[in-house]
Symmetry: C2
Subunit: 241 residues, 2 copies
DNA sequence: TCGCGGCGGTGAACACCGTTAACAGTTAAC
DNA sequence: GTTAACTGTTAACGGTGTTCACCGCCGCGA
């Protein structure tokens, strides 16, 4: 990329300051949730004036977006590290690892999780928010699960509904994504999507406190659900607890 | 309740003003999302000064909480009306009606849905937020689904995992809720919870834009999922599309 | 009927927010 | 060495939630 050491002293200084800003924003996020991440608060955190931050981010929202992208990357890296942490684990074991890891991360960082996966801020400007760094980071995150499921299917195809059972409209949309899903048949993509939806709903309900009325500790429930999913994918599941 | 017409003229005036305030807040919510519902903005909407609202609500957060409770009630009433709208529908048909109705309401009112079911605002004050009107309204909402599932089970018990398959910890938590679930066995409660989680995750993903990467129109996907759930509950399902 | 207490409203003020403008010091480039 | 860009400042604007002191008016009891 940068021939002849394109990075001057100022460039390095600048990158360091950007990192400092995002670190301060992250700290405020974990301490006080999204509303605590204010431009002035971040500036105060590192002894700067609020307008100084405009040298590094176009607006408050740009800072939040950068923070979101960073959080996606951090989560993705953590899941990849977790997936590769046990060399003896087969593909199924890896899937269980990252599913549980996602839940653990969400429970340990509820504010960050809400920022990434909760109700998005209504953003009238960015109508088509493709190609934004946050979106790309989100795709990179999703690919971790997608790739692993595709590998599982490649190694040992799991039972899935036939194309006739999906209905023409859904079938069309799913076959459109076949290439992205490593050539999996539409029924298998449908099943993968189903299980991803279940995992997402499970974690969202727990983190957002939507499960308190039924279960005070959703850990066992989560394990049971994971067990179900693993069984349907033809994996040899770890016994629940 | 109120003997000897406990409501004076002023009380009625007050109640009317409270209703006006909440209506204005609701209008701002649908127009500009949660951040648009400001104390001053609401006051401006009805030609009042901002401090005047403190005669009716202790704080901005109290207003939002009251709005949440109202939204729960509105959603609950809408679902009940929908459930009873088709006299010819059996219990299964009613379940399909309100499940689809919940999704339709969420898609038609994304801001409200995010407020009710999305990431909650970190609220350091209300550590134990039981007994708050919002919580009670949420329970009333949940009971619509719970009661209907219990009725379905009472009429025709659906297949469910045996107690041994649940694991001791989960089993204990579920049997604790047996009374609330009309005496259903733990396995049936577990299944009900599973399907509620799936419905919640499905709608959240769609409303929060977490499904755009895979499906541009999640309607067919939702119908297919509903079909699966209905089949598992032993209902005669409407053919998808 | 009079008086009084409280309810419902006001404007001013405080502290915070995001954002812009005008300005100054440092640093890099030509 | 001059110049331009970069990085920071302070001041200011309009917005927010909230509190305070004040004030008129309605409704109740004597």
């Amino acid at each position: 990329m940068d021939l002849k050491t394109g990075e001057t002293r100022r460039d390095r200084q600048r990158a360091a300051t950007v990192a400092e800003i995002k670190a301060a924003a992250r700290k405020l996020l974990v301490e006080g949730g999204v509303p605590a991440v204010g431009l002035r608060a971040v500036a105060r955190e590192l002894g700067l004036s609020a307008p100084a931050l405009y040298r590094y981010f176009d607006s408050h929202e740009a800072l939040i977006s950068a923070l979101i992208a960073d959080l996606y990357d951090e989560l993705t890296d953590a899941l990849i590290a977790l997936r590769d942490s046990d060399p003896g684990a087969d593909l199924g074991g890896q899937l269980f690892l990252i599913a549980g890891g996602l839940r653990d991360w969400a429970l340990a960082h509820p504010a960050e999780f809400g920022l990434l996966f909760g109700a998005p801020v209504p953003n009238p400007l960015a109508e088509h928010h493709e190609l934004t760094p946050g979106h790309q980071a989100a795709m990179r995150f999703g690919a971790v699960f997608k790739d692993l499921v595709a590998k599982v299917y490649r190694q040992q195809p799991f039972a899935h509904p036939p194309e006739e059972a999906l209905g023409p409209e859904l079938l069309a949309q799913l076959t459109q994504k076949a290439e992205y899903f490593d050539g999996m048949p539409a029924g298998a993509i449908y099943l993968s999507l189903t299980y991803w939806t279940r995992l997402y709903g499970l974690i969202c309900m727990e983190v957002f406190g939507q499960l308190h009325w039924a279960l005070e500790d959703a850990g066992a429930y989560f394990q049971a659900q994971l067990f179900e999913i693993g069984e349907a994918l033809g994996l040899d599941c770890p016994l629940p607890e």
